[in-house]
Symmetry: C2
Subunit: 189 residues, 2 copies
């Protein structure tokens, strides 16, 4: 079931080159097919409870480009409660966390002129983990509402991407976050 979320496109659009392109594709062309960054995580790093498409128990968070920033949408289940009727803070932190590392991956690929999931790309995958997470809880977050997290890339270096994020429930900004994402080492040892 979870594996069905791995929407890897059968073919990629023709690559363009020229003014405004970054590497092989324009920045706005990457993942314009509606796939999410997490859809393209290599299988061995696609088991995250928050955003791994292969974790059958997890949240399957998906982050896509939205202009120069990103968007992640998630509707918590009724069990994800704190005070009855409201979302618990740990879930909010989790969503911001995975939206941040997803955004970092997308940003790193874009900066490198690479396209996530490109079958002709044999460079090492760029997968990020969290070095630091900050969340400010601004308003109670109602259950039963889609949460929309918008990510903004503050800083990008070869091994570190800083992302700021804002979570809204309807018209209310309920949380702001900041993720310092670091490139995952080749091994975790």
């Amino acid at each position: 079931m979870a594996a069905a979320r791995a929407v890897v496109p059968a073919s990629w659009p023709e690559r363009t080159a020229g003014a405004g392109t970054v590497g092989r594709m324009t920045s706005h062309d990457t993942l314009h097919d509606g796939t999410a960054f997490q859809d393209h995580y290599p299988p061995d790093v696609a088991a995250c409870f928050g955003c791994g498409r292969l974790n059958e128990h997890g949240h399957h968070l998906r982050t896509t480009w939205d202009g120069e920033g990103t968007v992640t949408r998630f509707t918590p289940g009724p069990e994800q409660t704190a005070v009855p009727g409201y979302v618990y803070g740990g879930l909010i932190a989790s969503v911001i966390d995975c939206a941040g590392t997803g955004t970092a991956a997308g940003a790193a690929y874009r900066a490198a002129g690479r396209t996530m999931g490109d079958p002709d790309d044999h460079e090492p995958p760029l997968r990020f983990v969290t070095g630091r997470l900050e969340v400010d809880y601004l308003a109670p977050t109602p259950l039963g509402v889609e949460l929309v997290v918008r990510g903004h890339i503050d800083e990008i270096k070869a091994r570190k991407v800083v992302v700021s994020l804002e979570m809204a429930a309807g018209d209310t900004v309920v949380a702001r976050g900041r993720v310092i994402a670091v490139l995952m080492p080749a091994t975790m040892e």
Copy 2:
């Protein structure tokens, strides 16, 4: 099943008064019976996915006094993974979050000279929610190991408690956190 975790003692120890006491009991006597702060949350605020004893799907995190600080122990299930074999960051943030608000509640009761769960205490409950959460991820957190979170009360005011926390897996400190906990308002509106 979850309700069985509500270990409210049938009787409370004889209250002492005199030098070294804060209110009706000495600070070291509060919850010396092995119950956790979360065991005494009023039922209407005991449904948190992270630490509510009444959330049958949740983690049932429990925080107790440990000297002047607190301790929270939790062993994540195998599904709580990020990279295979390691715990995902959102869970780590959740544990630190609930350990922080639990510590804040305990600290507030102690400072007020009240004992959580005292059946003769008819003052409003002191339940805290998170205003700000910070987590630094210091090392990969292995799955299959009990995580031990020690909380330290940095600051306590009537409506705000600041708690710093350190999470260890065995001898390795895997994360440090800071929670600014704020007293829950009478209503969330």
